[in-house]
Symmetry: C2
Subunit: 396 residues, 2 copies
């Protein structure tokens, strides 16, 4: 009875829901504090105190008809878009104006808007494994074809030789996600330069436009002074998708933006398409109070030291147990090599110790598992003896 | 360069934008108070004072990690869904539970979620002219085919004989919108009973499931004690889409819900599909602060007397000028017969008097124009002498 396209997705999602329900079931038996749920990227850090203050000020200062009303453009309030552009220019030396910014219902909304604007049925969208599994659904929404580049498990930088071979005249977009979910790896400037050079050459070779879509919800979550290049400066046909979900701990509020620079081919047409896509996909506009809020809090940032402590403690703890893992420079995930050939078996073994983790095959990279360490520090510390016990099943 | 499907839409939207810009241009020349912009359904009534108070309380009382965090289910907070269900049961004698409610990014988000869940390419979606033009875009998003029933300009109740003839084995959904945009008409209980009987008979005849989608953003905006039947009580395969945009004056905040009753065929599968569609379309969940807010304000309602005064004044004023119009029982629109054969000419003539109105052909009903009277009372009063002058071009 439901749409054909939805049937597989509903079946798969039941598996995820089963995992979630298993977590609840375990919490019911053992107490939530004795369940080590590393499965979800839902920040455990509260929004900065400035967020609360800013909402109070907006309620006091703004006309409610404006604060809660439709925005004149589906792309958002003009003043908010200008504030976002100015902040980017200040931090990254770019030259955006308000018109280059489209406020979106989080990064997920933004990715759907840009793919709806660009993709014809059969167009190819390239992703680098391991990658956020939702890219497959978003591409499928517009009848695009997802093309995977296999993972480089040595350092999880993208495999650029394979990338070059897999670009075809049907390639319309390439999605990169750095800092990366699920590995926490930051793509180096050298990687970005080579990637851009390959795309420029292929555009010339085929006489096509190939868009680089940079999905950046973790841009601010970097450690040890790591630098995240701003991709519009390396490749003209770049569109950036951003979310305040992690940087301000507002994932449920659904607020982010797209950047469509003037350097993009036919940028005015693409901006007009993004405006229409925002409307007809049913977003209409990004939530208005949240738009005004992020403009007021544009210089605020969540407490990175919290995640950094989790990262160090979990990474070191797992290494001491014998697990293999790249030390991440960003985001809040560890991507750990499964000691069992089938990582789903390893996930099942972990569950015996009330440890919930996600198989790498969900990210196009079997043989690994993802741990989201955006949990409380107590969960990290208390999980380590359990990981020690788990490790003895493999390294004894 | 943009997707083929978007090209026409971008071209059409430029026409709307041109109108909007024309309004701004006129306001710049004559002053905003001398421009009578009846083009947009953006409420001019502030949200009830209780909204502000409720947000303050949420900031004081709720853990920010929960208040701004992802909801456990993509369908929304369990407590909010239960509050919505209880409110419907109390008001309409229904028997919903929290699981029957899917919190959505406004009614537009909800309609996209349910159409994504149901529609296969080529499936037919029936609408009754005049209808909200976005239904065409939403249906097109999922490669459905919009089938129009011609308008009954006598009283703007749906033409049920034509409806019966146009239902085919490909008919998957029927969208009704009562109180109606653009006419303000409320479909009578008799109409609903006949419509339901026709759909029941056609389901049996073809052995198909045909869904009645009731788009109800104007449910609470009714006058003179008009009753709006609750459609789930008349037809089993009914899904309701609701928005708080108008009832609480929160259109920019993007908050509404779907009701998927147990009586719907395979309702569990459809609820699971709606959950997945919410996620993969990029909504992820309805904005969380707004979810908690509408639950707190579930008994609040915007000041209907404001719209009622506008309705009476504008309706009577236009009639006195000689214009023909059905007196609406709900929503905040007047649908006026164009005194010129081509209503677009009439819209152009109105613009000479700084009056901005929308041609009926945008709603599948040429020969009429829509006036949104959700403007300030001053705009209504001051526009009447201008309408008088305009009328003299036609009735002299």
């Amino acid at each position: 009875m439901i749409a054909e396209k939805m049937k597989n997705m509903v079946a798969n999602s039941s598996a995820i829901r089963a995992m979630f329900e298993e977590g609840n079931r375990l919490a019911g038996i053992y107490g939530a504090e004795n369940v080590y749920d590393f499965s979800l990227g839902n920040p455990n850090v509260a929004a900065p105190e400035a967020v609360k203050q800013a909402i109070r000020e907006l309620l006091d200062e703004e006309d409610p008809v404006v604060l809660h009303g439709y925005t004149n453009s589906n792309c958002g309030y003009a003043d908010v878009r200008e504030t976002v552009a100015a902040s980017l220019n200040e931090r990254f030396g770019t030259h955006f104006e308000g018109k280059n910014i489209v406020m979106t219902v989080g990064a997920a909304g933004g990715l759907n808007v840009i793919l709806k604007s660009l993709i014809n049925p059969g167009d190819e969208v390239i992703v680098f494994a391991p990658y956020f599994g939702e890219y497959r659904s978003y591409t499928n929404n517009y009848d695009g074809v997802l093309v995977e580049i296999s993972p480089n498990t040595e350092n999880f930088q993208p495999k650029l030789d394979e990338f070059e071979q897999k670009i075809t005249p049907k390639t319309k977009a390439v999605i990169v996600n750095t800092p990366n979910n699920p590995t926490g790896v930051v793509y180096s400037e050298e990687t970005i330069r080579r990637l851009a050079a390959i795309m420029d050459a292929k555009q010339k070779e085929y006489g096509t436009e190939i868009f680089l879509i940079s999905d950046e919800p973790y841009r601010e979550l970097v450690y040890d002074g790591a630098k995240v290049p701003y991709l519009t400066k390396y490749y003209a046909n770049t569109v950036v998708g951003y979310s305040f979900s992690k940087s301000l701990s507002l994932p449920g509020e659904r607020i982010g933006y797209l950047v469509i620079p003037d350097e993009v081919s036919d940028s005015e047409e693409l901006l007009a398409a993004a405006n229409v896509a925002t409307r007809i996909l049913g977003f209409v506009n990004a939530p208005t109070l949240q738009q005004k809020l992020v403009a007021k809090c544009i210089r605020e940032k969540t407490d990175i030291s919290f995640y950094d402590r989790n990262r160090e403690t979990l990474y070191n703890g797992l290494r001491e147990c014998g697990f293999e893992c790249i030390k991440p420079e960003g985001a809040f995930y560890l991507f750990v090599k499964s000691p069992a050939a089938d990582e789903k078996e390893f996930c099942a073994a972990a569950k015996k110790y009330n440890i919930l983790i996600v198989p790498g095959s969900s990210f196009g990279c079997p043989g690994y598992v993802r741990l989201a360490y955006c949990v409380s520090y107590g969960t990290i510390v208390n999980s380590l003896p359990k990981f020690k016990e788990l490790s003895k099943e493999y390294f004894s």
